[in-house]
Symmetry: C2
Subunit: 189 residues, 2 copies
DNA sequence: GAAATCATTTGCCATTTGGCAAATAGCCTC
DNA sequence: GAGGCTATTTGCCAAATGGCAAATGATTTC
């Protein structure tokens, strides 16, 4: 619970009353490994803050391959922000890579916070901006690096994940096939 | 000028007085082809709205190659938003791909608008979010597609640019070498 | 308009990655 | 612990892409 508040406070000030209100709006949820937090085709009705565990966002591309778009780490929010804001069906799945402890905000709770807590929208805007900038900055260099460098960069970013995640998730995230990733792993050791 | 207002109004309401104020805060600037709007190492002090022309954002990667991170089209804002907000030096160049007609806001003007026009921050937040989401959505699929598909996607997105942009810009944007792109072009015709 | 400069294409070959299928390893269930 | 699954590795070869340099084409400059 505190990790949520610590996180929020990085982006703006909240008094104790506001903090209590925010916490009262949350529900706890355990999402077991492989379970989905949200699914493509459905309009997202909840936002999750990850207390523990790793989620991934994935979709099916035009060839029908399942692509891992990105991983979401502990102490970050998870939602298809575009679909959530516009209240339109998402085109992505959000799935637990490991069993996760989540704090959940419903759409309603989220909107109540927006209209009750003056600095809420500003904080949320900053969080959204930061998260998106990070995604762009992680994706951009991937295009100009070869697969081995991308894998090494992943190892640095998610050292604990590399051997707990199915090869298929990781390969599609890196934009290569499973067998290529397997060979890259072999060459590195 | 109107295109700026049209653009802003997509993201929130502004009355005539606010519109006039915004326009009074802008300056016109013509940026000739190849000139820089901002440079890596310098803290950005201006935001541009592109009335006409195309900009690109580029940087040098660890190998020393110049990489085009993305192109910015007419009727969009151009700035390294992260550096601008945090007032820290940028790591990117913003350069005119074609001669551009720009509307410029200085940092000071931008901040005055923020404190004068109530819905300003909200509008800016939405614009920022939208721009970043578009970047993520353009980058993500590039990893799972081959170079030819990426080039074809570029052609669809920027049909007028493909033959006006130096091969080198385009190749680094697509994550391939100039010669590969040249061969891809040949095979498509 | 000729020379100089820069951009693009092409040839040649090396390297990387993909596609497919078989082999191996790991894990789960009974 | 023996199947029966699933995940990963590996072999084989094809296709895509890179690296380098030369050739060609385009543009600028004087």
């Amino acid at each position: 619970m505190e990790s949520l508040i610590d996180y929020l406070l990085q982006f703006g000030h909240l008094n104790q009353q506001q903090i209590d209100l925010i916490l009262r709006k949350t529900t706890s949820l355990e999402l077991k490994k492989d379970e989905y937090f949200s699914e493509a085709g459905k309009t997202p009705k909840r936002i999750a803050f990850i207390l523990e565990g790793i989620l991934r966002v994935c979709y099916y591309n035009s060839k029908g391959d399942e692509i891992t778009k990105y991983f979401i780490e502990e102490h970050h929010f998870a939602v298809d922000i575009n679909s959530f804001n516009q209240k339109i069906p998402s085109s992505e799945y959000v799935q637990a890579v490991t069993t996760c402890q989540l704090l959940i905000f419903t759409t309603q709770a989220w909107e109540e916070l927006s209209s009750t807590i003056i600095p809420w929208d500003g904080i949320v805007a900053k969080i959204t901006e930061r998260a998106l900038i990070e995604k762009v900055n992680k994706l951009s260099p991937m295009l100009s690096e070869d697969a081995t460098s991308r894998y090494l960069a992943f190892l640095e970013k998610f050292p604990s994940l590399a051997n707990r995640v199915p090869l298929s998730y990781l390969a599609s995230y890196l934009g290569i096939t499973q067998s290529s990733l397997s060979r890259i792993r072999k060459n590195i050791r």
